[in-house]
């Protein structure tokens, strides 16, 4: 059997050694690629006694089987490791151009272990993979580092870079690509920093990937591209970016405000929404490799306290995290905070959410001026956020910087009292900017069941609950009411499988929205020769989901960790969902039942694991039980 995928390079930074190997075709087929295959490699090769920043820890980058195919949204890249923020297995996804660059070099992925003695970078071209000195980049921000890499390695060089936050191992440090695209979530940048690895640079001559049925792939691309382009969601994304429907989300109670104390504010709905961004600061749209949607924002703020040069603009999550969540309607401040946070190399969601939590703690008197070192944390004080807090967090400066650099859950535990109750997180990962109380109760279940912590892209629930996709071939046709629990556990089953398929395929969840199940199956088969039918593909999605849950169990997580904080579940105070309660426990119990999961361990029972081919995991978790 042959799967049309590339070999994996292993880089032992401690020993300075590089080797490469093939992953068996059946392993690719069973785990798809990207985050699914990363979970398999992590389970087989990681030392589970090593914490996230231990030199023994693994840091994995993996392509999906479609990388390099000239199809919109088909070339994202996955990074995976044990998260320093949560302690759980985590994966993070990044768009841009690195995935094809890796494939051009004949690689399907990179697995790092060890710690380099001095600041290093990995350089990849067609002929070699070399560990090189990165002293010239150390201590520098993302934008300067990226420019220096271009100057040294040429215009073709594509890079993944960490900033000061990664170097200082801030547990929510991200990895930036071309100073625009981010592996934002779960602290992959801190893991890179712990390895003294400042950058990964790929500069191989472009070539078409070897595909199982290149002619059929070309036909599929030809069929799908106009549909992707014409889809109304793609047009909104292109015109207004991912914040394009922020105003609509706000009216439906989906956008958290002031640390989730509210979810409606008409002024912010208008001032922060995507069309306002387009009318005020947008200079042009940006894109990822081969993508016809082009949803990325390039912005410039000409004047005022938050003036910013032309460059990467904010996504929806960042607009809400540095806007409504902090009680600020100021879109220029969002643009500036986005650039500063990205340059320092921190996840904008966790950074914004942690600051929002601190502002509420300050308002309540749980965090005093003495503890903040005299920094006043009033709502919407964006000067303080941008000039003081973000740099102090990235440097882990003693006092407020070091406290907030822990992330909201650890910081709340550090100050004690009831401060943990008004964080908005699951398993230590701050929730994204969709409030289940207004956006849809299924989101609450999705956040809790996501193996990496509160996340709306680990599963397809966000799209399925809002009616943006239907999968009649596997039993899902949109008919859900947002503000009830009805049908949500049933939907979550398929959503979990579909999310795992998308993230393992490294597909963009915007661009693939109109794909039908038979089309996704055909893409896998035509590009990589996987030989799937719909059932086999969906089964692979379930396999990946359950494997990740098993890994987390073996790392110490149980069903008790599938919980949301009181703040996320208490009836909302404003807007439409005011007073409506989420029946979270009922949804969770039903989901466990449907998925044949144990309500204490939080993993699938032995028979289900064995049926999915997860024999080792069944033996480890359910010894002696068939």
């Amino acid at each position: 059997m042959h799967a049309f995928v590339e070999k994996i390079a292993h880089i032992d930074l401690g020993a300075g050694a590089v080797s490469s190997r093939e992953i068996p075709a059946q392993t690719w087929i069973s785990y798809i690629g990207g985050s699914g295959l990363a979970a398999r490699l992590f389970r087989d090769e990681a030392d589970f006694t090593a914490d996230a920043l231990d030199p023994r820890a693994l840091l994995i980058f993996l392509n999906g089987p479609l990388a390099g195919v000239r199809l919109s949204g088909a070339s994202r890249l996955c990074a995976a490791a044990r998260s320093p923020l949560t302690g759980a297995f985590a994966d993070s996804s990044c768009g841009g151009y690195f995935a094809p660059a890796l494939r051009h070099a004949g690689l399907g992925g990179l697995v790092f272990t060890g710690r380099a003695e001095t600041p290093s970078l990995l350089f990849i071209d067609n002929d070699s993979i070399q560990i090189q000195d990165a002293a010239f980049l150390w201590g520098k921000g993302i934008e300067e580092s990226t420019a220096l890499i271009r100057a040294k390695y040429g215009q073709r060089a594509r890079s993944l870079v960490i900033g000061p936050a990664g170097e200082n191992m801030v547990p929510f440090a991200g990895i930036m690509h071309e100073a625009h695209h981010a592996f934002g979530r779960c602290g992959m940048g801190a893991v890179m920093g712990s390895k003294n690895l400042k950058a990964i640079v790929a500069s191989a001559k472009p070539r078409d990937p070897e595909l199982a049925h290149p002619g059929r792939v070309r036909e599929l691309v030809k069929e799908l591209t106009p549909r992707i382009k014409d889809f109304v969601m793609s047009q909104v994304l292109h015109e207004y970016g991912s914040p394009g429907n922020l105003e609509g989300h706000m009216h439906s109670g989906d956008v958290p405000i002031r640390n989730w104390t509210s979810n409606f504010n008409e002024e912010m709905a208008e001032s922060l929404t995507g069309s306002t961004l387009t009318e005020t600061y947008l200079t042009r749209a940006g894109t990822c490799a081969y993508c016809a949607v082009a949803c990325k924002r390039i912005v410039k703020v000409d004047e005022g306290p938050f003036a910013v040069d032309e460059g990467p603009g904010p996504e929806y999550e960042t607009v809400a995290a540095f806007g409504s969540l902090l009680g600020s309607p100021d879109l220029a401040a969002v643009c500036k905070a986005n650039r500063v946070c990205n340059d320092l190399g921190m996840d904008t969601i966790t950074a914004g959410a942690t600051i929002a939590w601190a502002m509420e703690a300050f308002e309540r008197g749980d965090l005093t001026l003495e503890q903040t070192g005299g920094v006043s944390l009033e709502w919407a004080n964006m000067r303080t956020v941008i000039d003081t807090l973000l740099p102090a967090m990235a440097r882990r400066e003693e006092g407020i910087g070091a406290l907030l650099a822990m992330g909201s859950a650890a910081a709340a535990r550090a100050i004690g009292g009831g401060a943990i109750d008004y964080t908005a997180q699951c398993k230590g990962l701050e929730a994204p900017m969709h409030d289940p109380r207004g956006g849809g109760h299924g989101h609450a279940l999705a956040y809790a069941m996501s193996p990496r912590g509160a996340c709306h892209v680990s599963s397809a629930m966000h799209y399925m609950e809002t009616g943006a996709c239907n999968y009649p071939e596997i039993g899902f046709e949109f008919n859900l009411e947002a503000l009830t629990d009805e049908g949500k556990p049933e939907t979550m089953m398929l959503a979990a499988a579909m999310g795992c398929i998308e993230n393992s395929a490294c597909l963009c969840q915007y661009a693939d929205r109109t794909f039908t199940i038979p089309e996704i199956v055909e893409l896998f088969n035509a590009a990589a020769g996987y030989g799937y039918d719909a059932a086999a593909m969906v089964e692979a999605g379930y396999r990946v989901f359950h494997l990740k849950r098993c890994i987390n169990y073996l790392l110490g997580f149980t069903a008790g960790d599938d919980a949301l904080t009181p703040r996320m579940l208490e009836p909302a105070r404003d807007g439409d969902p005011a007073g409506i309660e989420i029946r979270f426990d009922d949804m969770k119990a039903r989901f466990y039942e449907l998925m044949d999961m144990d309500p204490e361990k939080g993993v699938a029972r032995a028979a289900r694991l064995r049926a999915l081919g997860l024999q080792d995991e069944a033996d480890a978790i359910w010894p002696g039980i068939s």
Partner: protein
């Protein structure tokens, strides 16, 4: 009654005051505008989600929202 479109529906539903025949439903209101059919439209009536089958009340403030996800 007052009506407006939010987010991507701004372009299709300009803010306006309308007089509709008594007993008109939200569905009839939505049909007055050329909203592309792919938009899953939800009506917020005086700040509350309302079924499109519901009848409009005098003096209501209606915001039409698409559930188009994103972000």
């Amino acid at each position: 009654m007052r009506v407006k479109g939010a987010g991507p529906l701004r372009a299709h539903v300009p803010e306006s005051e309308l007089v509709l025949p008594a007993g008109s439903t939200l569905d009839a209101l939505v049909a007055r505008f050329s909203i592309p059919s792919e938009h899953p439209v939800v009506a917020m009536v005086d700040g509350k989600r309302s079924s499109l089958k519901n009848q409009l009340r005098d003096g209501s403030h209606v915001v039409l929202v698409t559930l188009l996800p994103g972000g």
